[in-house]
Assembly symmetry: C2
Homo-oligomer: 278 residues x 2
């Protein structure tokens, strides 16, 4: 398995993922790793139904991911009702792929199940009030979701994460009948990609900027970000409606609070949903 | 690929993952999904070195995961220095596998890179002060880490996540020279499993408890948790030093603040590390 893909294929996959600045050395390689490297997010889906019981398979993959202390502090809402998908799309700034995809998965950071266990056993579970437990639940949900993405892509399906569900977590909770202590942390569209829309692999920051050995080290970062800005502007020119480099996109996304589209109120919303964030 | 594994193998994999309460229907299946279902966390490693440049491969898989708005708000510290691993093990309640594994990966929720971009362009990036951006960075790091886990397991390596790095995020930041706006959210041991230690697949909660259709629904949950408690007590008897069911473990982990081992102070520590959590 480790040698089933040639060095040429490995080099091509790394070149697509890293643009100008390739990692200096290749490492071990196989078809699974090649599949991971070929990931791209898809925002245009065919009106083609999924294989029977796809949710069962994706959920089994998701539940097989690690979970902190086996607490399993997440839940999954599989949304197929068109009217409900339309209302969730409205929360997420009207993203059409939520309506167009046959399956929309909402990943829930879920402390409510532990609360119910505590209530049934008449025990106060003090830790559930802490920010730490929101992070545990959010990380658990993300590890599970990524396993579902790997499983979906192995079946020829495509996906895109929807962070904009956090624009209004209270409305999402109301739409999905979530109990106190549960919050939808992100969505995931699942379906067959419409390949008439271009979808190149998007280049990422060079490893030299992201990966550090024993100690975090920013030496050389500005020069490397300049090169990445050029790569991403080229990618943007080929694939997107408006051309932008990475630096400008970072600033556009994070300078003004209105770009947060409501997510600047997330802490307030979480407290209302039963997360005191102590 | 979708039919390369028989229904018998699929049934056996689901039975190992779900114990008494199997999902009612099987879905699409292949070798990738079988590999995901066979995951188990490993806490005993052989003193065997990794293939050359394993970090490069795992990092390339990690960087290929989706990242919110391509902001790439995470970094990875690959720790191999034995003295440093020993100090990080001390933060994590002395977990020996951190010392014994040949590679310890620290996954960093990293807003510091965006801060540096803002400083270089003389822009105040207001969003970076919000809880939302800590969640973005934590989710980004978790998606990346899970891709690295899938890649590692495809190479015959094993892993275990270390949430206990959050026992003292300030000490971890000091040990790794993290800039302001960066926090180690969890660790990951990587190495060759010592198969002389038993490592069964751990049963998870039934899908009927975790997966919901269009609306969250707790009907039937208590009866199903009773069955899961029995399954997990059996698993615990076969695999662990002390026998416990799920309910008792939930209560032991979350009732008393001392079980949080310092993580009840996470919000304070994060503010000190440059996350105002607005």
């Amino acid at each position: 398995m480790a040698t089933s893909t040639s060095k040429d294929q490995q080099h091509a996959a790394l070149a697509a993922r890293y643009g100008s600045e390739l990692p200096p050395e290749c490492g071990p390689w196989n078809e699974t790793i090649a599949a991971l490297l070929s990931h791209r997010s898809v925002r245009k889906y065919l009106p083609k139904p999924l294989p029977d019981n796809t949710v069962t398979t994706l959920a089994a993959a998701a539940q097989s991911a690690a979970t902190s202390s086996n607490l399993q502090t997440w839940s999954l809402i599989a949304v197929t009702d068109p009217a409900l998908k339309a209302r969730l799309s409205a929360v997420a700034a009207g993203q059409k792929h939520i309506i167009e995809c046959p399956l929309f998965l909402v990943w829930v950071a879920d402390l409510s199940r532990l609360r119910r266990v505590g209530e049934q056993k008449q025990q106060q579970l003090a830790a559930l009030n802490y920010l730490e437990m929101l992070l545990v639940a959010t990380i658990d949900a993300a590890l599970a979701a990524q396993n579902a993405v790997v499983a979906a892509e192995s079946l020829g399906l495509s996906t895109v994460y929807i962070g904009a569900l956090r624009n209004d977590t209270q409305r999402v909770a109301a739409e999905l009948n979530l109990p106190e202590g549960a919050v939808g942390v992100f969505g995931l569209c699942v379906g067959y990609a419409d390949h008439s829309v271009p979808a190149e692999v998007k280049p990422r920051l060079p490893q030299s900027v992201v990966v550090h050995r024993d100690q975090y080290d920013v030496a050389g970062e500005p020069a490397r970000l300049d090169i990445y800005d050029q790569d991403l502007a080229e990618f943007s020119r080929r694939n997107e409606l408006s051309v932008s480099n990475w630096t400008n996109r970072v600033i556009a996304r994070t300078k003004e609070l209105r770009a947060m589209a409501g997510r600047d109120k997330l802490a307030v919303a979480l407290r209302a949903l039963g997360f005191p964030l102590s």
